[in-house]
């Protein structure tokens, strides 16, 4: 019979997570990828699109993309 302390020491294995990214990630990895893409999108927008579409649109899109990656990636 195992004591409660021995049971508590057994690591709990979480079920494997299946996001749309092709690599195994934790939430920090996905936050990192989100920030990478946020910066890349902002620079691209400033270089090529800002003359016709305001940068605020880019902020919204980049944040939405970041949230999507952290949540579902």
């Amino acid at each position: 019979m195992e004591s409660p302390s021995e049971i508590a020491d057994v690591p709990v294995r979480k079920p494997a997570r299946h996001g749309f990214l092709p690599i195994v990630t934790n939430w920090f990895d996905r936050l990192f990828i989100g920030i990478y893409l946020f910066v890349a999108l902002e620079l691209f927008w400033m270089r090529f699109l800002e003359q016709s579409i305001p940068l605020a649109v880019c902020h919204v899109l980049a944040i939405a993309l970041g949230v999507l990656i952290v949540w579902k990636g």
Binding site: H18, I23, V24, A40, E42, M46
Partner: protein, 297 residues
């Protein structure tokens, strides 16, 4: 609880040093990158200008050119160093006459300061007194002049970097190769695998983490090369070897434009991280296994 506290106390000096010399300067540079700040101007105050420094750099032809040259330099230097370093490491796993002497001589460039490497190579490549232009002219009739030939200047900077840093690659790959278990190689030889198959299917996958770590170190170094190139060419002729580190130096010190220099530094750090992360994902990151069972679930 007690051991936890002891652990944190033992980590504290390292965390303190990392914080003071790594994290605080990073956030300070990030803060500066959103400001216009010239401490030697008539108005030495910092003025918040939002993303204007970043807006400026995506249109800055000089910066984009220097970035392109830096990426080319890093690619040619790192790839050459990995290939030559691997071949030398393989050679050093075998016994040959003068091996100890060769290993010592071969490792010597590592202990020379980059600024000295740059000045020595400048002496060796100066047309009137340098040994390299002398023999290139004597043997091939080629007049090497890195003061006027942009391509030659670029190639010489790459060769200098290879000369300086290949021993580091050799040592790390040698350590990885000699620590490999013997069994898989013996079994492959018994099964009739040739040398190429052994290299491609056994050696390379087993030393992949060591290669990746070496590429990370060399890539980060190559992307921020300043002193060697500054001594060798001064960024010239024209802007042919004005790599991004030199460009930042020229923005920050002679022009004292700290805000814009900080913005460029942040973008270079960003690009370095992106490249290292892509290499990590491409070479060693664990892939998600999407089996039929999982797809149905």
């Amino acid at each position: 609880m007690g051991s936890n506290r002891t652990g944190w106390l033992m980590l504290a000096p390292t965390l303190l040093i990392l914080g003071v010399f790594g994290i605080v300067p990073f956030f300070y540079v990030l803060y500066l990158s959103f400001h216009q700040w010239n401490p030697f101007a008539a108005n030495p105050n910092m003025i918040f200008i939002g993303a204007n420094n970043f807006r400026r750099l995506v249109f800055d032809g000089e910066f984009l050119t220097s970035l392109w040259f830096t990426l080319k330099f890093a690619f040619f230097a790192v790839v050459s160093e990995i290939i030559i370093g691997y071949m030398l490491a393989q050679m050093l796993t075998r016994d040959f006459y003068g091996k100890g002497f060769f290993r010592t001589i071969h490792t010597l460039p590592l202990i020379v300061a980059p600024i000295v490497v740059g000045s020595v190579w400048r002496l060796m490549t100066t047309p009137s007194i340098g040994i390299i232009p002398y023999y290139l002219n004597k043997w091939f009739g080629y007049q090497l002049n890195i003061g006027s030939d942009a391509t030659a200047a670029f190639i010489i900077t790459v060769i200098m970097d290879i000369w300086h840093w290949t021993p580091l690659v050799t040592l790390t790959l040698l350590a990885a190769i000699v620590s490999l278990p013997k069994d898989p190689f013996e079994q492959a030889q018994i099964d009739g695998a040739n040398r190429w198959q052994i290299f491609w299917h056994i050696t390379l996958p087993m030393i992949r983490p060591a290669i990746l770590a070496t590429v990370f170190i060399r890539l980060m170094d190559a992307l921020r090369t300043v002193d060697e190139v500054w001594m060798l060419t001064g960024g010239g002729p024209g802007a042919a070897t004005r790599f991004v580190g030199l460009h930042i130096w020229k923005i920050v010190f002679p022009k004292t434009d700290y805000g814009y220099g900080s913005a460029i530094s942040i973008i270079v750090l960003y690009l370095t991280l992106v490249m290292c992360w892509l290499l990590y994902v491409g070479l060693v990151a664990p892939r998600v296994r999407r089996s039929k069972v999982n797809a149905d679930a």
